[in-house]
Assembly symmetry: C2
Homo-oligomer: 345 residues x 2
DNA sequence: TATTAGCACTCAACTCTTTTGAGTGCTAAT
DNA sequence: ATTAGCACTCAAAAGAGTTGAGTGCTAATA
């Protein structure tokens, strides 16, 4: 059987309708829209065909049809009309996103929030992770009798407190050595050998006790290794409760648990290695728990390099065209951000 | 009518029972426990009295009784038995909380998480906010052609990127002046006058263009003013869905919305200015939305000074004794943390 | 005088049955 | 090829009946 134009139009109409109503769509409803000028009986025949071809499902004999995963997939690939985001909405987004930003991870968080606000689905966003995090400066600041704060400036700032007997003057000397050796290197260029080289200098020329410096340098190495670890944020999880498919509290709770497990979530979103906006629909999602959901993701870049992911999780009958348009827009806007800012708390 | 010992025992038994069952408690259930050796008829008479006195409520004629807010209040103040947390659980907590901590806000986050894990209610925790944040060091690091990262080291590290035409050498000089004037001052000691004094030095001795330095110093002042702003984290919000009082998805959604509004939440938790663990029960809570919930809060301190809040939000029939004990324990453990660490990302 | 056994009464919640209506598939007419 | 017409299906809503936990009151009892 062939999927001719009329069938496509009917399928499109059914999915469009189902996306807003969340109720099985009957032949009469499609017929009454009158865009095709066909009677319900004709629609009925076509719907039976579409079901046979796997695009539609009938929950029970006397019900209307709902789209199958295959139906959604076809819709997303070929049927869905392009959603055009209004100029004012775009300007609003730009204002919200770029206005008074001084910290990159805050901006990213805000982007996630805005994606959630625009789509009203749950949003997931990762902070930038670049293989090329270049070290700009390292500092050791005594903060108490026996502890020193290690500060590593890259595109962002990371810090941690180290317990050590290093004196104030020693901190300054060690910091000088660290800067001399490490500045302008990327995190992956710094092997443990490099750190040992620093150890030798410190023990030799500076005459610092090996035990003391080894301890400190271990933390330095560890911190540098962790530089590229990203965070993941979930926004608007509550929207899940808004959709009738999650009226069942237990089902909703399962999803909440899933969203709370950040590691799992990172893994999920990392594996969608996409170019442009992509959707995985229902059973296309690996986690069992998402088999009734769709996930739409996009990479965002900074400086032209893909460094993070933005994703939307919602019911399979989500408003794909709007979500696609929103993610596309927001990822582009994030890319523009790097001009203004780059930072971290 | 007098609230004699027997009435107290009965009230206690009813509330204890209701806390676990979430179902109206009948006279027979209490009688059968047989701790008092009274028949259901006698219990019934006492229950009628307790209702008249305002401690109990009968949802409808043929139902058992549930505690009123007044009943809970009396229970919390006078009836509740002290919950004793096991030694292993305490050790477990200490291990989890103090192990490998290098960042203070992470530790706080973990404390919130652990409170949620111990109680299985939703937990709210604020990051430390001290009026006495002492500036340890300030740095200006060029990160791009036209931007400089401002780093302020206190007990934690804050940073932001500033667009400026300041050169690398100028950064060093300005940083020197900033350190000379601001080091060891607390945030509230630094008025705008102090900043202007720095401006004069920079323009005068260093000969930097006023326009350029004013821009930078504005950011410095702003950042210092923001030093004491705290964050608030919500953990285990999903647990709300676990309790029958929130079986109604719409009700749950309202609470989720409330928990998402961080500013409101900060305000709520800030106003409970308490010493030790405190509960506000049902209508004692100001926000309309919490009138069916209880909020239990405790201040935690670092260095002996109260700097943050930890709170638990749950149904009115929450396990108060366990929550009280957990919050008490955790707030004490947080106080001990300051020995090991102090940090920020 | 305090307690309790006994009994009629109440009412939410459950079960079972009936009704409703949206929707289908098939057939015969156009 | 399309459509009007009709019998059929079945989930969901509405209604009717049943159950049972729980009460309040009264009269008997310790």
């Amino acid at each position: 059987m062939e999927l001719n134009d009329r069938k496509k139009l009917i399928l499109q109409a059914i999915i469009d309708e189902y996306i807003v109503s969340a109720e099985p769509v009957g032949s009469r409803a499609i017929s009454k829209k009158n865009e095709l000028g066909l009677s319900s009986a004709t629609i009925r025949n076509e719907m039976a065909d579409l079901e046979e071809m796997g695009y539609l499902i009938q929950p029970h004999t006397s019900a209307g049809r709902i789209p199958s995963d295959v139906g959604y997939r076809f819709y997303v690939n070929s049927l869905m009309h392009r959603y055009k985001i209004g100029v004012e909405a775009i300007e609003e987004l730009q204002r919200e996103l770029a206005g008074r930003i001084t910290r990159l991870d805050r901006a990213i968080l805000r982007a996630g929030y805005l994606a959630a606000a625009m789509t009203d689905y749950t949003t997931v966003i990762t902070t930038p992770v670049g293989e090329k995090t270049e070290i700009k400066k390292i500092d050791l600041v005594p903060v108490a009798e026996d502890s020193v704060m290690l500060i590593i400036v890259t595109r962002t700032v990371k810090s941690r407190v180290i317990k050590t007997t290093l004196t104030g003057d020693e901190c300054i000397s060690v910091a000088q050595v660290l800067n001399a050796v490490l500045t302008n290197k990327t995190a992956d260029e710094i092997s443990y050998d490099v750190i040992q080289e620093i150890e030798n200098i410190c023990c030799g020329k500076l005459g610092i006790e090996p035990k003391v410096i080894i301890n400190v340098l271990n933390f330095v190495y560890e911190s540098i290794s962790e530089l590229d670890d990203g965070e993941i944020y979930v926004e608007n999880a509550k929207s899940i409760l808004k959709y009738p498919e999650y009226r069942d509290v237990d089902k909703a709770r399962e999803i909440f648990s899933f969203l709370e497990d950040k590691n799992n979530l990172k893994k999920l979103i990392a594996q969608t290695d996409n170019d442009g906006v992509r959707a995985t629909i229902g059973t296309e999602n690996e986690p069992e728990i998402l088999k009734d959901c769709s996930l739409v993701t996009v990479n965002y870049s900074l400086d032209g390099k893909a460094v993070g992911k933005l994703g939307v999780i919602g019911p399979k009958r989500m408003n794909y065209s709007q979500v696609f348009a929103s993610l596309d827009l927001i990822s582009n806007e994030i890319d523009k951000l790097i001009g203004y800012i780059s930072n971290d708390e």
